[in-house]
Amino acid sequence: MITQDTTEDQSEVSRMGEAHAYDVLVVGGGATGAGVLRDLARRGLRTLLVERGDYGTGTTGRYHGLLHSGGRYVAKDALAARECISENRILRRIAPASIEDTGGFFVATPNDPDDYVAGFQAACIAADVDCEEIPVAEALRREPALNPRIRRVFKLPDGSVEPWQLIESNIADARVHGSDAWSYQRLVGMERDGSRIVAATLRDERSGSVTRITPRFVVSCAGAWSGQIAAMVNVTVTMHPGKGTMLIFNQRMTDTVINRCHKSSDGDIMVPVHTVAILGTTEQRVEDPDRYEITREEVAALIAQGEVLFPDLAKMRLLRAYAGVRPLYQPPAEVTAAALKDGRQISRAHTVLDHGAMDGVENFVTIVGGKLTTFRRMAEDTVDMVCGKLGVTEPCTTADEILPGQVPGKTYWLGHRLADHEAEGGGDAALLCECEFVTRPQLDAFLDRHPDASLDDVRRGTRVGMGPCQGGFCTFRAAGVVGERAGHAGATDVAEQADRAILGFLRERFKGTRPIAAGRQLQEQWMISGVYEGGLGVESLIEHETPEASREVVGAQR
């Protein structure tokens, strides 16, 4: 890590000093937390966001990548559908660089019931979701890998959305407005004095040092972990963590988001994301959002479902499997056997829990449920409640102002990296990551903007290592660049950081391959371990298991 602070003690003192001045503490650095932080900051409340890991390492970094049009919810949950389409339009305006405007097809396969298909368009119109039926032949011309036996196709404004840049630009906007965010700071406890939270304790996950802060208000945006946060002040929030598994294929067999036109089920959406495509998802209740496994059976079932959309799917190369946990909330009154059996029965729409009214803790709210697509709206509803309680009357402006680092109307497209690369001199601009076209100047620019970025941040921030080779060579190059810069800056823990990056990459890659180990991907896994273990002696970098590593979840990241 390249630290900005010269000494640990100084940083502690300055943080303590600042900390007393925060109005609001936001817990959780996913999309929701980042959106809440931005909104609070813009309404003039000095806010601190804390995240236990890197930003976007919760559900936001392990989701499917779909900017919902709302089409998926029109039949069951019209409220959710309405929110999706309205936020979809707003996000295209305020965060275009995080969105690829792929468009979406809802296709009726021979397996899908006629009555659902027949009512689909009307349901869309009723929920204000744009929906146009197009000839099957036209859809097949655009997406030739689709099942040729599909019967009807509807075109909707779905898209693909990149979460890390979205979080980053929300935090950047909050900083412009006088607020801040700290990563690797875990909320470990809160002190309650009667009806108020009076202090919160944070632990630095890297150094172990502890900070106590005294915000006027606490907002929990901890997603599937919300129950754990509430429990710190003896409040019960019953979450219903629902694991969803996704498969990454090494090719974009479709340039359009494909949904099956039926009642939502497993393996019925394919989302093109940069150079790959992701099939999802599943739904399975898990007890602990930090511990779950992906099984080969689950993978086989997903592929079988996906083949209904793409008949050749089984022959396509799988890069990895990963899973995320849905932050589904279980309202106390509605604990029904049906909801327990099928997580999909619970509304995807969000709820702001007013712990003053519900539990007698005046300065505490939790936001639960929702989707990535609606994170801004979730933040607005949450902040409206907080402002009401704090007597702040500033209106919400997050839907109107474009986010920093975004250019109006300029969504990204598959060729943008190549185009940027050509603009920088083409063939001879030092390419560090061949799959995703990340150059040395781009990496330097990122590191200039984020001087204390970890190599994991680099991965999320630049997509180094996320393409078809899955980081085989570029992770080590990125570690080399960070080492070179840190060496020049006189930093001391360069080697430890490189160890973490290289071992972390190999572990992450292994986890993603484990449930899908077969064919070319297994061969590649063997060659990569041959290179790193056989030839380069990577095992000599392993010190001994840190508590960090043993806490790691089994499900892999995107």
Binding site: G480, E484, G519, G530, G535, G537, L541
Partner: protein, 440 residues
């Protein structure tokens, strides 16, 4: 139709060793391979048994031979002879190997800033093998603009005591980076390109002068200098001699991420030895079909770019590598297939293939999957009875070893390759010794 006494499938260490040995005994040998082998990915040394518990390769062989089902159980005693036999062939091809079965395994530094245990290395890496004397320094010297070797990161890592696995270590590790003529402005250099430049005597002289100047500017004297493994490809011996002569510290090459230049030199030397012995290698041949007559293979058909190619053959050596080489393929349903003959594969059940942690010290049970043979390397079924008479299996396709994790893949490849050839070309009692007419 072309014909051969022995067709070898696979152009790795195992296949080429078998082919050289068979050709030397007078057989007409053809090697067919779909592509280049682990040589092009690996560090170019000869790993016999680099396990943590072993003090020397010989000790490692003994330890591995004691594991139930390990190929060293019946091949271990062959390794020394195979190595002695191969060494002059490699030297003729321009790569001298240093170290033998009794050389202590030493923690040799690598280009990710780690160490690996090795004892038998090509001359270019040999200076890394001797223990570090007190006060001895190491300079890590990179080439400006080359993105697969990062001296600062390597030096920072190697400065830590724990990396040296308890052995001796340099007193200091200093990174430097040198701009070489005509390369500084280039951004996407690969190792092979730089190695080819070193083959050019004129360029080499100016480059080595630049390296020598930069090293002279580093405080301190003597010691060793680690360079990326790019010191020539065709003319490596001359490059190495010049570098040893002109640099003020003992140079050694650090192997890099693929493509591996030391591995390519090893491959070139093996190939040259085979051609000298009268054999032939064809790369780009994917085996499509094998004809058989009862328990004998009679012909092999390969598909190349635009044609099918069939060779009649008296015998077959299967050296297609394991999962890494492509000789074994895992199906999504959990079956493991041997791709050429559909031989029975010994493998753990699918739910036990992989441990939970990538770096589980016990390794992954799937690593030991492969083909079980008798001591003559004939593939056998579950009952231990050979399923083919004129087929031999060699190299990392053999069951019971962790060819990467135990760093025994090269030793198993050499000993099994040579034994496979000898078993096929041995003259059965009472038969005439005319090559080409044998029916092994």
């Amino acid at each position: 139709m072309p014909s051969a006494d022995v067709v070898v499938i696979g152009a790795g260490l195992a296949g080429l060793t078998a082919a050289i040995a068979a050709a030397e005994s007078g057989a007409h040998v053809v090697v067919l391979a779909k592509g280049h082998a682990a040589t092009h990915w690996g560090p170019g040394g000869i790993d016999v048994a680099g396990i943590p518990a072993a003090s020397t390769p010989r000790d490692g062989i003994r330890l591995l031979a004691g594991q139930p089902g390990h190929p060293y159980g019946f091949l271990g005693d062959d390794v020394a002879a195979a190595l002695d036999w191969l060494r002059p062939h490699l030297a003729d091809g321009g790569v001298d190997y240093v170290g033998d079965l009794d050389t202590p395994l030493q923690a040799v530094p690598t280009s990710i800033g780690g160490t690996r245990r090795a004892a038998i290395l090509p001359a270019g890496q040999a200076a890394a093998l001797s223990p570090w004397s007190p006060g001895e320094r190491l300079v890590v010297c990179g080439i400006a603009g080359f993105k697969d070797f990062w001296p600062e990161a390597i030096a920072a890592s190697l400065s830590r005591e724990r990396i040296w696995q308890g052995g001796s270590r340099p007193a200091s590790v200093t990174p430097i980076s040198v701009a070489l003529p005509g390369l500084a402005a280039r951004h996407n250099l690969n190792a092979l390109e730089i190695a080819r430049r070193f083959d050019d005597p004129a360029w080499r002289a100016t480059a080595i002068a630049a390296l020598a100047r930069a090293l002279a500017a580093v405080p301190g004297s003597g010691g060793r200098v680690a360079l990326p493994a790019v010191l020539g490809i065709r003319d490596h011996a001359a490059v190495l001699a010049a570098v040893q002569e002109h640099l003020p510290a003992a140079p050694f090459e650090m192997p890099l991420v693929p493509p591996s230049v030391p591995g390519m030199r090893l491959y070139a030397a093996l190939r040259a030895a085979l051609i000298r012995a009268g054999g032939r290698v064809q790369i780009g041949e994917m085996i499509e079909r094998v004809e058989r007559d009862g328990r004998r293979v009679t012909a092999v058909t390969a598909a190349a770019a635009a044609r099918m190619y069939t060779v009649r053959t008296g015998a077959l050596v299967l050296a297609t590598g394991g999962i890494a080489g492509g000789g074994l393929v895992a199906e999504r349903d959990g079956r493991l297939m041997e791709v050429v003959l559909g031989l029975p594969v010994e493998a753990p059940p699918v739910n036990e293939w992989l441990a939970l942690d990538a770096f589980d010290p016990a390794g992954h049970p799937l690593e030991k999957a492969g083909i079980r043979t008798d001591t003559e390397l004939r593939p056998v079924g579950a009952d231990g009875v050979p399923v083919f008479d004129n087929v031999r299996v060699a190299g990392s396709l053999l069951a019971g070893q962790r060819y990467i994790g135990e760093r025994c893949g090269d030793g198993v490849a050499l000993s099994s390759g040579r034994r496979a050839a000898r078993s096929l070309t041995a003259v059965p009692a009472g038969h005439a010794a005319k090559p080409g007419s044998k029916r092994p």
